[in-house]
């Protein structure tokens, strides 16, 4: 069983919803990321999503775009991100790490080389934003051969046919994009999310995470009532941006925010 599946089993047994923070690797500098990952785990993160910087992040809102630009300006590339995961694994062999990004850096490295290197570094899965199942066959096969999960997105525009199809090829969990929009959107409608999740659960057996637009303890708690995982990105990355000049303060600040989310999520069930 993969580390991701194992983690969801544990949470299910405990009756808890996963807290999944997203940070862009190498933002605001490469030295920040590994200590930040440990601090997030200590504050209650169940799975970590690590953004791989790409020059053209077309699904991201301004907050994560700027994080990407900061990381790229520091020269952070896919190979560096894999090295960060390897360093993280020296002290944490349990928390699943999912890479989130765009296809082109992987395409250049080569699917097989990426899968091998990611597996060796201790990565558990990947969510490639611009790879729908129609284009994902070769990638999913290559990742699976190394025991890696390919997490797929579902959206408010996904038809029942698509939901079924994606449920059939995804592994680890599926990521429901709660709004029509980019990361960091402001207009999360929890009733609407609950309705979509019911539809998804009737066709997909995997755990369902919800992300995009979860900005505070209150929205996190509301989403936690219906989701298996609450994914928070821009709200964390915005806090990192505010401290870009004093990066030594980032881990404790993000940890304090996650602790707040953790309490709210655990209180919701």
């Amino acid at each position: 069983m993969s580390r991701i599946a194992q983690r969801f089993e544990q949470l299910k047994a405990q009756g808890r919803t996963a807290l999944v923070p997203f940070v862009t690797a190498g933002d605001p500098g490469p030295a920040t990321t590994v200590p930040l990952m440990h601090a997030m785990v200590a504050a209650g993160a169940d799975i970590i999503e690590l953004g791989v910087p790409f020059s053209d992040p077309m699904a991201d809102g301004p907050v994560i775009q700027r994080a990407t630009e900061r990381a790229l300006a520091q020269g952070v590339r896919l190979a560096d991100v894999l090295e960060m995961v390897r360093a993280f694994r020296e002290r944490d062999s349990e928390t699943p790490v999912v890479l989130m990004g765009y296809l082109n850096p992987i395409e250049i490295m080569g699917y097989a080389a990426f899968a091998e290197r990611a597996q060796a570094a201790g990565v558990d899965g990947a969510l490639i934003v611009d790879v729908p199942p129609e284009e994902g066959h070769e990638l999913v096969t290559t990742l699976k051969a190394q025991g890696l999960d390919l997490v797929y997105l579902l959206a408010p525009t996904s038809t029942d046919d698509r939901i079924k199809r994606i449920g059939g090829v995804a592994s680890g969990f599926v990521y429901y994009v709660s709004v029509k929009g980019v990361t960091g959107a402001a207009n999360l409608d929890t009733a609407d999310v609950a309705e979509h999740l019911a539809r998804i659960r009737s066709a997909v057996e995997l755990p369902v995470g919800v992300g995009f637009g979860i900005r505070d303890a209150e929205t996190a708690a509301r989403v936690a009532e219906v989701a298996d995982a609450v994914i928070v990105g821009s709200a964390i990355v915005g806090r990192i941006e505010a401290l870009a000049e004093t990066p030594e303060r980032i881990p404790e600040t993000v940890a304090a925010f996650l602790a707040e989310l953790r309490t709210a999520i655990d209180g919701a069930r």
């Binding site: 082109n104 850096p105 490295m109 080569g110 959206a155 029509k180």
Partner: protein, 416 residues
């Protein structure tokens, strides 16, 4: 990734079997290129777009409406002009110019925006968005939006907004909102990212008019179909005028919509040589250029797999061309396929060569070409003398040079 692995399709492009050319396939691929590399939110809307387009394509009423607009509003058919003085001077092949510069709004771009705007109307969309580099596609989009009474938002890199002031003003006069894009390199590729972000956010009422033969399926096919009016007309005009097909076609390639529009109706005519001309900038060897087919490699950007300008880590790199309309790190996937299959050849022309051709056509034929089109003219200037006077070269004069006055003057040390 399986570049060059699809031999069955390579065989289909074999000269003897060229009549079978029928790409993209049902999933939007041209061999290994093209496809649908977009976030899940866009997948169903793109499927709806594909179905709506298939319906319109088969609908005689839609085609009649489109033909009438192209005739009465755009001014089609555009003339075929024999550049006799220039041909005589070079002493080689006869050069013919397909005069897309005479279209309403001054370039080939309007052929596509007319089609997509009619489709938007059929689909009940009330708002259109577009990306633009030089501003030509933005103007063509704002124009059709004004005519159909649709709200129009145009995304344009901050750098381009500054260097194409006149076109920004034209768009605003036409009632469009021009949004300067400040992310990334602040040029065309970033404007495309921003338009995608708008589309994913406003998917219910918004139609995204992509300006070139790139992006996710069905855009490369749909934009091509709207632009093939260029090649269909030119083919008939050449046959009528000279009694035979041209020996060579030449067109500039940024995203490649004017080029594919000219090339596509000739793909099965294997005796016709096809040349696509990329922007060589300061020279391909300097790295400062926008010639992904000549000097890039395959990758995935903006919804499709194609040749890209990228570094060893898969990051898209900044491009350079004197012509804003060619200043793009990717290229339409069908060009990638035509290159690999050998049916078309892709070459590059530097900024200086394009400028020289700009001045030369202006003084020799009394036609001021766009800097984009000047790249094609510069290559024709090299190609024609290698052919006999009883042969012919057909060049797509894709746009007029009015928009480039400031750029050319600045190069000549003048400020207008």
């Amino acid at each position: 990734m399986a570049i060059n692995a699809d031999t069955s399709q390579a065989e289909r492009l074999d000269p003897g079997r060229a009549a079978a050319y029928d790409l993209p396939d049902a999933t939007g691929h041209f061999g290994p290129y093209g496809g649908l590399f977009v976030p899940e939110t866009l997948m169903h809307p793109l499927e709806e777009l594909r179905l709506a387009y298939e319906r319109c394509k088969a609908d005689p009423e839609f085609q009649a409406e489109m033909d009438a607009d192209l005739r009465d509003y755009v001014g089609r058919p555009s003339p075929l002009y024999h550049a006799e003085r220039w041909s005589r001077e070079l002493g080689g092949a006869q050069i013919y110019l397909k005069r897309e510069d005479l279209n309403h709004t001054g370039a080939h771009k309007v052929n596509n925006t007319i089609g997509q705007a009619l489709l938007a109307k059929r689909m009940g969309k009330t708002r259109i968005i577009a990306e633009t580099g030089a501003g030509q596609h933005g103007v063509a989009s704002a124009t059709v939006a004004a005519r159909l009474g649709l709200e129009c938002v145009v995304y344009m890199g901050e750098v381009d907004v500054a260097r194409q002031e006149a076109n920004v003003y034209r768009m605003r006069l036409l009632g469009a909102k021009v949004v300067p894009v400040t992310s990334g390199s602040r040029t065309l590729k970033d404007a495309l990212n921003e338009a995608m972000r708008d589309w994913v956010t406003n998917i219910d009422d918004t139609f995204y008019i992509i300006g070139t033969v790139a992006g996710p399926h069905p855009y490369p096919m749909m934009v091509r179909d709207f632009q093939t009016v260029i090649g269909r007309e030119a083919r008939a005009q050449m046959l009528e005028r000279t009694g035979r097909l041209p020996d060579a076609l030449v067109a500039c390639v940024g995203g490649g919509s004017n080029a594919i529009g000219l090339f596509h109706p000739f793909i099965a005519d294997t005796d016709v040589a096809i040349y696509g001309v990329e922007a060589g900038g300061e020279g391909v060897e300097t790295g400062h250029h926008a010639a992904p087919l000549c000097a890039g490699r395959p990758g995935v950007l903006h919804g499709n797999r194609t040749y890209l300008m990228e570094d060893d880590n898969g990051q898209i790199i900044e491009t350079h061309s004197i012509s804003a309309g060619l200043d793009y790190p990717g290229v339409g996937p069908e060009h990638a396929w035509l290159k690999d299959s050998g049916r078309a050849r892709y070459v590059s022309i530097t900024d200086d060569e394009a400028l020289a051709a700009f001045h030369h056509l202006t003084r020799t034929e009394g036609i001021i070409p766009a800097l984009e089109s000047s790249h094609a003219l510069a290559y024709a200037h090299k190609l024609a003398p290698t052919l006999r006077p009883d042969q012919s070269v057909l060049v797509n004069l894709s746009g007029r040079g009015d928009k480039d006055m400031h750029t050319v003057a600045r190069h000549d040390g003048l400020v207008l």
